[in-house]
């Protein structure tokens, strides 16, 4: 028993601590992640990708969230450290950025894998003595009640519950596939199988009973042959030891936004009249940073058809089938179609942008024409495009 009450930290809600794996460089997002880590990339007009898991945590009654990162973390760090944005700042709750630390006997290390990132923070997790640990990744767009998943985990008396979602059979070989028995127990895990036996893809969302995972991690840290990865090492170890693992089926909207095309697509999904993500649902709000910006100004000659536009935008030209982020600007005579304009992007007079994703603060000069309707991939515009002088 701790002698001093200050040594005890409580999590007053569901005794589950969450860790978000946000370490990836996100190199498939090309120039978008030159300056910021992937989870801090803007999404959906006013959000950042990491607002989704953080808001889900807050809405699911989780008090403490660790964000594991090792790449370009200054912006991400200052962003998530203000836990107040998601309501994660009341007593005994908080968002903590956990980068690799220098420890007395080991010197400065890096996170060697997803599991190692957790192993290196066992002391942090132990200080809250949680019963359950939720592992999330920082690059998925979805809304999910982790508390319901925890109830399932408890009811099944599992040591690990993996969230899965059915994917089309022909795409199953692109995912980590969980094969289950009739009781929903996981009996096999195949990473990108050529001939999948099931179409239940892992969403990279795990609930572990902490005691059980802790034991495995301590062994894994010392294993020189391990790659210290949840998929490659931890789950196979649980399988080999016959520990109870169950699959938790999730049917709602879920999108991996790891590439320019998928990031663009997920933004476009918001334009659907019956968008499955339903950002307007006040019972499950996605929280974000609030910028001091005027409501969107729509000019006298503007033309807007199928669009998602946030405060601070100025629209004086035409916007079709597009998503405009904070402070984006479309000048008179400009045309923006099938395009995502990230925060502060400007399309000058008479310019035309088609099927593109224009990065933060980038200007498309007067009369410039960018992108094409039948391009195979979405064009990323990360540098100023010169217009007519």
């Amino acid at each position: 028993m701790p002698k001093n009450y200050r040594e005890v930290r409580f999590m007053s809600q569901n005794n589950m601590l969450a860790m978000i794996l946000a370490g990836g460089r996100g190199s498939r997002l090309l120039d978008l992640t030159n300056k910021v880590a992937k989870p801090a990339v803007a999404f959906g007009g006013k959000y950042r990708i990491i607002d989704y898991p953080l808001s889900n945590c807050a809405n699911s009654g989780i008090d403490v969230v660790g964000v594991l990162t090792q790449y370009e973390s200054v912006l991400l760090n200052s962003y998530v450290a203000a836990g107040g944005r998601w309501g994660l700042d009341s007593r005994d709750s908080g968002v903590f950025v956990l980068t690799p630390r220098e420890k007395a006997d080991e010197g400065l290390s890096v996170y060697r894998g997803t599991a190692d990132a957790i192993s290196q923070n066992i002391d942090f997790i132990d200080s809250y003595s949680p019963e359950y640990l939720l592992i999330l990744s920082g690059d998925h767009i979805y809304k999910m009640d982790y508390d319901e998943m925890l109830n399932y985990h408890k009811a099944q008396k599992a040591e690990l519950t993996v969230a899965v979602r059915p994917v089309p059979w022909k795409e199953a070989s692109r995912f980590g596939i969980m094969n289950t028995n009739e009781a929903g127990e996981i009996i096999e895990f195949q990473e990108k199988p050529k001939e999948p036996k099931s179409n239940l893809a892992s969403m990279g969302i795990y609930i572990f009973t902490w005691k059980s995972l802790r034991k495995t991690l301590i062994a894994d840290m010392k294993n020189p042959d391990s790659s210290h990865d949840f998929g490659n090492d931890v789950i196979p170890c649980f399988l080999a030891e016959n520990r109870k693992m169950v699959a938790y089926k999730f049917e709602g909207y879920w999108k991996d936004v790891g590439t320019i095309d998928s990031l663009w697509e997920a933004n476009m999904d918001l334009l659907d009249k019956k968008s499955e993500l339903n950002m307007n649902d006040t019972s499950w709000v996605i929280y974000s940073d609030d910028t001091a910006a005027l409501p969107a100004y729509i000019g006298p000659e503007a033309e807007i058809d199928r669009a998602y536009i946030t405060q601070g935008c100025i629209v004086e030209g035409a916007v079709h089938n597009s998503v405009l982020f904070t402070d984006a600007e479309v000048k008179p005579g400009a045309i923006v179609e099938d395009t995502v304009l990230m925060p502060g992007a400007v399309v000058e007079e008479g310019a035309k942008v088609t099927r593109a994703l224009v990065a933060n603060g980038v200007t498309i000069g007067k009369g410039a024409v960018v992108g094409s309707r039948d391009s195979e991939n979405i064009l990323l515009v990360a540098k100023r495009v010169k217009g007519e002088e």
């Binding site: 001091a292 409501p295 946030t310 405060q311 998503v323």
Partner: protein, 371 residues
């Protein structure tokens, strides 16, 4: 930073805003879609480096208390600074007793205990941007006892009725303070904003109390113009005084003009407000939106022209909104046409197909109403 105690006063009771005011004091009115009136004086003070602010509340306090909270929105750290909400027990017998002096007297100790030498007083029913750090320096350097902020207008015949007016000499010395009766077009509208030493304010409050229970601070200052050095400083830029429904309606719509909006909203002088975390606004096929300010969280399928839409407005297919101020969470149903209206929060208009008023006398649709 301006080293002064900030005081945000409630609007004088002579200002009546039809309908709107039954639900909240003017300071709590929504403005420019996503703001409240009180955000402007508080952001001015916060941006000027002031973090001890008293906000006087009269009338129904619920919405103002909810909006202001601990003041965190305005970057007032509750450990270092302080945003205090002060309530004034309104006299029900006769509202002539509900003066600013009466509300100062109700909470006099909070002013007396302040460590600041200076006090800056500004109202919650006027919208403008003012750097109080600069104004305080001007005040101190001029050697004046009291500095009053005013806005020069040539529209005093049509606007600002009932506002106070500064009668100035050539050296900007204040000769008297009178009410604008709309008899001439050029006037110096007093912005109900004062800078003076705390000790002088306390003296004036005490003298006013002994003169008459109906006395206001501006009447008291007018009385002492010959005794003290009282000077006017001109304000430039956007200025709106909310004194009735028409002025509220006009002030909102005037911000659709980019020139006005950019004078009030300078990125280097942010106006803070409480976030509701509403998502961006969605425009569907068939929507047509022109010359308008649109807040977040709206779902637009119809037509919106020359209007200001607050948060979470549903505009159904075929609906037309023209020259209107629509506050928040309203639904304008299929085929409904509204023009020259102020629509209060949570109204649902589906049955009435046409609600059109004279632009000189805009209509008011009640809060929570179903039409």
């Amino acid at each position: 930073m301006a080293k002064a105690l900030g005081i945000v006063t409630a609007a004088p009771t002579r200002y009546k805003v039809e309908g709107m005011q039954e639900h909240r004091p003017i300071g709590s009115f929504s403005f420019a879609g996503r703001y409240r009136m009180v955000d402007f004086p508080l952001s001015n003070m916060s941006n000027s480096g002031m973090d001890r602010i008293l906000v006087y509340i009269n009338g129904n306090p619920r919405s103002l208390v909810e909006h202001l909270g601990s003041g965190r929105t305005y970057n007032i750290n509750s450990k270092r600074g302080k945003l205090q909400l002060l309530f004034h027990d309104e006299a029900n017998t006769n509202e002539i007793y509900n003066t600013d002096i009466a509300s100062f007297l109700d909470n006099l100790a909070t002013i007396e205990r302040s460590h600041f030498e200076y006090v800056i007083i500004t109202p919650s029913n006027m919208v403008f941007v003012q750097d109080y750090d600069k104004l305080l320096k001007t005040h101190v350097e001029s050697g004046a006892d009291i500095t009053l902020l005013y806005h020069r207008t040539d529209e005093a015949r049509e606007k600002f009725h009932g506002c106070d007016v500064l009668n100035l000499n050539r050296q900007k010395g204040v000769l008297s303070i009178e009410m604008n009766l709309g008899n001439t077009k050029d006037k110096n509208i007093f912005m109900d904003t004062y800078i003076l030493k705390k000790e002088l304010l306390l003296e004036l409050i005490d003298r006013a109390k002994n003169l008459s229970s109906m006395y206001t601070l501006s009447q008291m200052v007018s009385d002492v113009c010959s005794e003290y050095d009282v000077r006017g400083v001109a304000h430039r830029g956007f200025f709106a005084a909310i004194t009735d429904l028409k002025s509220y309606y006009d002030a909102n719509l005037s911000l659709i003009d980019v020139k006005n909006a950019s004078s009030l909203f300078d990125p280097k002088w942010p106006i803070y407000t409480k976030t509701t975390d509403s998502c961006p606004t969605q425009y569907f096929e068939g929507a047509s939106v022109k010359n308008s300010l649109i807040s977040n969280g709206c779902l637009i399928e119809g037509t919106v022209e020359n209007s200001v839409l607050g948060r979470g407005i549903k505009v159904k297919p075929g609906a037309v909104i023209r020259n209107s101020v629509v506050l928040a969470y309203d639904e304008i149903g299929e085929g409904v046409h509204i023009e020259n209206q102020v629509v209060d929060k949570w109204a649902k208009i589906t049955h009435a197909k046409e609600i059109v008023s004279d632009p000189e006398k805009p209509g008011y649709v009640r809060r929570d109403d179903i039409l």
